[in-house]
Amino acid sequence: METTNPGAQPAAAPAAGETLLRVENLVKHFEIRGGLLGISTIGAVRAVDGVSFSVRKGETLGLVGESGCGKTTLGKVILRLIPATSGKVTVKNRVLFDIPTEEERKAGRRATVLDAGEMKKARRDLQVVFQDPYASLNPRMSVGEIVGEGPLVHGLTDKGKREDLVRELLARVGLNQSHIHRYPHEFSGGQRQRIGIARALALNPDFVVCDEPVSALDVSIQSQVLNLLDDLQQELGLTYLFIAHNLAVVEHISDRVGVMYLGMMVELAEVDDIYVRPAHPYTVALLSAVPDPNPRNRRRRVILKGDIPSPANPPSGCRFHTRCWLRERLGNPEQCTTVVPEFREIQPGHAVACHFAEEVTPDTIGAAARTGGPVAS
């Protein structure tokens, strides 16, 4: 008895190729404790609130959104680094977990969760590269130990052969093999990120979650790491879930892109489609806000008003309605504040959660854009 959002499925289903990862109605709420003894639940941060999509083998799905949109939490829940509140994640046809919602539980549906032994096997296929190369490497372990630990734990190598394996991995990510006995502090930020990538590759995974892998790096180092991720995907047939806030980086690396806002997926499409014809007013504003490294293109922008609302108390109806330029233009239709928009397909492979996505046209965008300062001569 699968309960899937009927609107979400067709858009989330890959057009071709084998599906590697399927995420269905994933929900993660963090309880806020309070009250007299600090043990009663007084609310919840709805970090991820019903997200569905799938990733096909060998592709890169980019996930963008601003802080607090839930993109990092989503990655962690998929990897089971934190438990989901409800929802289902399937990797290579193996169900990692299938947790019913409150109502479904009352109706008698039971949760299915892979046991620890099976999960350990599944983890070989699921690896992660974290954002901060300074915080994600144990300072007391040498590079050899950091990179070789996974294969050792999974019995893919023994202590004798470990060094050879690690050397091979270091060469693969462009690090000097002779640095195997060095410690993390002896490396620069870019090199540390390469160590993190080598660690992720050590178990020969199919699927790697890259959580802001280049945002802590300097510009000239960013491109080195992006090219490395590209090469590794070509050579090893990896599938990436690439989480980042930098839209240019995501455009560069992704085949398809999902945009998140306050715990929900608001738009998902092929990269060329979404960057050229964004259909959600939030995507429009996000793309418009990126400063273009071309001084002759000081263009008009759609500037959003106000801040991102708190995910502990998201707005009713469409969560974006408090900042939406389109709603204002359409004379504040009531629907936006009362009805949660369905995540619907407006074109094959292009899904969007907006009641009025058809009104997002070059005309309405142009009218909403204010002058972005003096135009360079």
Binding site: E66, S67, S188, G190, Q191, D218, V219, S220, I221, Q222, S223, Q224, L226, N227, D230, H245, L247, A248, V249, E251, H252, I253, V271, Y275, A285, L286, L287, S288, A289, V290, P291, D292, P293, N294, P295, R296, N297, R298, R301, I303, L304, G306, D307, I308, R370, G372, G373, A376
Partner: protein, 353 residues
């Protein structure tokens, strides 16, 4: 010893600035002979990667360098005042009055135990000698000027009650409350989300128009530079490697480092392709290479690069610290000459001569 053509109407002039840090491991030449100027009302973008000395240059202008750091040479002039010759007391007067500064992380620059409005009012009453109550009203006025809704209520709130974008607005309100001639903004939007960054940049543009102040905008984000700056200075390992007006730097970069930076950033709307990279990493400041500091990473490196290249004017107003000719060719003399000839070549080519 001016390394650059002098321009009229400069508000801030930095010449041959050297700020060194005397650490236990040796001398770190964080800023090593930096010269540039900002005209009244102009926005100068200072761009470079971590450790290139851009923030230390800004702190030197504010004279906020702490031990083991020291300004060891050079001059910093604001209009007709020599900032390095001022007494501490006189400098305090310059800070906040003539020059204000905003930082990357507003949370660390605001006092967590005082309401935001009080902090702005304090700055106003200190600098203008007006009564606290009057200053409080001015603070509320400043907060609404920087686009904070319900400013009267917000003025009573503490920094932790505000979002990152709101805090940066408070910082800007505080910085502008004394009508500075020069605003130094050190990565003002780096910690902010992109839609909030767009709001803050828009605000800075509007205030710049209205107050006609000069801005020294320090950032690693070439997009922000392209959006905001009139002129650009590119720094690398404590030195200026290129400077010109913004269009020239982006369209006809001369220095291989500038070229590499511009080629290595992914841009919106460009098809997926392989990114250009700058090989290697920034040199260790305690162990800088001899000659050109960029030579180990440079695709155009040649023997003459063992001699430090001067900052030469390759076109009117366009300076580059590279041995390549203005057309980007290797220089005829010195290309495969002995070191001695190279030094002679250096003397011949330099505008310092």
């Amino acid at each position: 010893m001016t390394q650059r053509p002098t321009r009229t109407g400069e508000l801030l002039s930095i010449d041959g600035l050297k700020t060194h840090f005397y650490t236990q491991d040796g001398v770190v030449k964080a800023v090593d002979g930096v010269s540039f100027g900002i005209r009244n009302g102009e926005t100068l973008g200072v761009v470079g990667e971590s450790g290139c000395g851009k923030s230390i240059t800004a702190l030197s202008v504010m004279r906020l360098i702490e031990r083991p750091g020291r300004i060891v040479a050079g001059s910093i002039r604001l209009a007709d005042r020599d900032l390095l010759a001022l007494s501490d007391e006189e400098m305090r007067d310059v800070r906040g009055n003539a020059i204000s500064m905003i930082f990357q992380e507003p949370m660390t620059s605001l006092n967590p135990v005082y309401p935001c409005g009080d902090q702005i009012a304090e700055a106003i009453s200190l600098h203008e000698g007006i009564h606290r109550r009057e200053a409080g009203d001015r603070a509320i006025e400043m907060l609404s000027q920087v686009g904070i809704p319900d400013a009267k209520r917000r003025a009573r709130e503490y920094p932790h009650q505000l979002s990152g974008g709101m805090r940066q607005r408070v910082m800007i309100a505080m910085a502008l409350s004394t009508n500075p001639e020069l605003l130094i903004a050190d990565e003002p939007t780096t910690a902010l989300d992109v839609t909030i960054q767009a709001q803050i940049l828009e605000l800075m543009k509007a205030l710049r128009e209205r107050n006609r102040m000069a801005i020294m905008l320090i950032t690693h984000d070439l997009g922000v530079i392209a959006e905001m700056a009139d002129d650009v200075v590119v720094m690398y390992s404590g030195k200026v490697v290129e400077s010109s007006d913004v269009n020239t730097v982006f369209e006809q970069p001369h220095h291989p480092y500038t070229k590499g930076l511009l080629a290595s950033i992914p841009r919106l709307g460009e098809k997926r392709h392989r990114l250009e990279v700058i090989q290697g990493v920034v040199p260790n400041p305690l162990n800088l290479p001899k000659g050109c500091l960029f030579k180990r990473r440079c695709p155009s490196a040649m023997p003459v690069c063992d001699t430090p290249p001067p900052l030469q004017e390759i076109q009117p107003g366009h300076l580059s610290r590279c041995w390549l000719t203005p057309a980007g060719e290797p220089p005829e003399i010195g290309a495969d000459a002995e070191a001695e000839t190279a030094v002679a070549a250096a003397a011949a080519l330099t505008v310092e001569a």
